[in-house]
Assembly symmetry: C2
Homo-oligomer: 287 residues x 2
C-alpha cells in the first residue's frame, strides 16, 4: 500500500512516527479528508484551501505549495489504482524534543502523512438515511479549525454508536451547532436552516456545494442559529460531510422523520449534489 510521507510516495511499511511528534503528544496538527470518484478528486481545491486556512489559524507553516500537495494527492491516487475512496491528509507540527507546550522554532519541519482508502458510495445508506442522537457539544471554541485534537468529537460519536445511532447532533446551551463529523441542517416550510460559519462549526466543503445547489434550485437557506426545539419540530433534517454527502436523518433520538423516502428538499439536494460530483468526476454507478 502506497502512502504520502512528507514529499514522497512510499510504501506504508516505511512510515514511522516519532513518539515526540507533536501530533502524538499534543494533537498539534491539522487534516483533511478528500473524496475521489472515478479516479478524480472532488473539491480538491476547496479542501486544500481549508487545509492552509487551518494551518494559518494555528500558526503552522505548510512547507508545500498548494500545487505540490495537489500533485502528491494525484500521484497517490494514481499509484493506488483505486477508483473511489478517501484521501486522508494530515500535517503535524513535527518532532520537538523534549516535550514542551510552546511551539518549536522554524527549524522543526512539519510532518505530512497521507493515505488513500477505497470506499464505495453507499447509495442504499443515502436512500435510507441515518439514526442520530442529540447530545451536548463538549468541544472547544475553535471548531472552525480542522485539527487532530479530536477526542471531543470521537467521544460524542462513540456515545451515538452506543445508542445504535450513526451520528450525534450537538447543541451548545440549546443551540444546534453541527454533528461530530458533519454539518447539520433542518428544513421547515421549504426553508433550509443551518448554523452560520464562525468558531462553533467547521466550514463544510459539502455544505458549500449543497448551498450552491439550493441557490440554483431556488430553495432558500437561512444561516442563523436555531434551537433544539426547531430541530425536533423540523420537517426534514440532513447532515452533510465529504464522506456522507447529503445524508437524510431518518431518526432523531426516538422520533422518526420518515418511513420510506426522505423529505423532498433533502432528496433534491442529494440529486443535485450527485450531479455536481458527476460533472467533476464523471458518471457514478447506478445502484
Amino acid at each position: 500500500m502506497k502512502v504520502i510521507w512528507n514529499s514522497e510516495i512510499v510504501d506504508r511499511s516505511e512510515v514511522t512516527i516519532d513518539p515526540e511528534d507533536r501530533g502524538y503528544q499534543f494533537g498539534d496538527g491539522i487534516y483533511e479528508v478528500i473524496r475521489a470518484y472515478n479516479k478524480e478528486f472532488f473539491c480538491l481545491d476547496e479542501h486544500l484551501d481549508r487545509f492552509f486556512s487551518s494551518a494559518e489559524k494555528i500558526e503552522m507553516h505548510v512547507p508545500y505549495t498548494k500545487n505540490e500537495l495537489k500533485h502528491l494527492a494525484n500521484r497517490l491516487l494514481s499509484e493506488t489504482g483505486v477508483n473511489t475512496g478517501n484521501l486522508y491528509l494530515q500535517l503535524t507540527r513535527g518532532v520537538a524534543s523534549p516535550r514542551n507546550h510552546m511551539y518549536p522554532d522554524a527549524s522543526v519541519l512539519p510532518m505530512l502523512t497521507g493515505t488513500f482508502t477505497e470506499t464505495e458510495r453507499d447509495q442504499q445508506m443515502l436512500d435510507k438515511g441515518i439514526h442520530t442522537i442529540v447530545t451536548e457539544d463538549i468541544r472547544w471554541l475553535k471548531c472552525d479549525i480542522k485539527m487532530i485534537s479530536l477526542l471531543g468529537n470521537i467521544m460524542v460519536k462513540h456515545e451515538a454508536h452506543k445508542k445504535n445511532a450513526y451520528e450525534a447532533i450537538l447543541h451548545r446551551d440549546g443551540i444546534v451547532t453541527e454533528c461530530s463529523a458533519a454539518n447539520v441542517a433542518i428544513v421547515k416550510n421549504g426553508v433550509i436552516h443551518t448554523h452560520p460559519d464562525g468558531n462553533l462549526i467547521l466550514p463544510g466543503i459539502t455544505k458549500l456545494v449543497w448551498k450552491r445547489c439550493a441557490e440554483r434550485l431556488g430553495i432558500p437557506v437561512v444561516e442563523e442559529p436555531f434551537s433544539l426545539d426547531e430541530l425536533y419540530n423540523a420537517d426534514e433534517i440532513f447532515c452533510s460531510s465529504t464522506t456522507m454527502e447529503v445524508m437524510p436523518v431518518k431518526k432523531l433520538d426516538n422520533k422518526v422523520f420518515f418511513s420510506e423516502t426522505a423529505g423532498s428538499v433533502t432528496r433534491k439536494l442529494q440529486e443535485a449534489y450527485k450531479a455536481e460530483i458527476e460533472q467533476c468526476c464523471g458518471k457514478l454507478p447506478v445502484h
Copy 2:
C-alpha cells in the same frame, strides 16, 4: 536514552509509532507528568490514580495494573540514572486501521510510552515568580480529563509566550478557571480562592498537596468560582502544577503584584510544599 514502550524499557531509538495510532490521528489518549526528586517519585500514587481515572472517563482500558506501572516508572528512573526530573507517561487507544472515529474493539491494544527528562528545580524562578496574561478559555468541556488532545492548551500557552509571559490564566465568560498547564488560585484578605473541581479544570495533584498544607497552616481555602475582577484585585496570585510547584504570579497583564518577594501566603505554601517533597524524597539542594 532509555524509555518505556508498552511493558518494556527499551532504547529511545527503538520506539516507532504507527501513523494510524489513534493518538496521532485523533488525540485519543491520556497522559501524566510525574516529578522525581533525589531519585524518588513524588505523588506517584496520586498521579497513577488520575491516569486510571482519565482512562476510565474516555472508556479506555489500561492494560496494566497500578503496580505494574509503578514498577515500570521506577525501573526507568533507575536505569536513566537521573536524580531529578519529569516522567512523561502516555497511553493512546492504539493502532486501528483504516481510520475511523469509532472506538476500536477490545482486540486493539493501547500504546504506552514514557520518557524521563532531567529537570532541576528552579528555586530562582520560584522566588521571582512568573508573568502571566489573561485570555479566554477556549478548551473543551471535559477539562478534568488529562488527555493529549491539547491544541487548545498549547494555543493559549503560545499566546502567552508571544506576549513575553510564561502562562495564560483562562476565563470562561468572566469566571477564572485555571491556566494552560496549571491550576490557579488567588489570595484575598488571607483567604485562598480557587475554582472547584469539576468538568472545567483539571483536578491538580499539586493543588491537592497545597490544600493539605493550607489546612495544616490554618489558611482557609474557598473552592468556588471567582471572577476576573477578583483576579485583578487579588492580594496574591499563584499557579500550581507538578513542574511549577507553587509558583507566584509576579505580573498579570500589565499589573505587577510584587517587586521582590511574593506575598506571605504564597511563600508559606511554597515552603510547606517543599517540606512535603523533602518528607517524601529527602533533602532538596539549597540554591
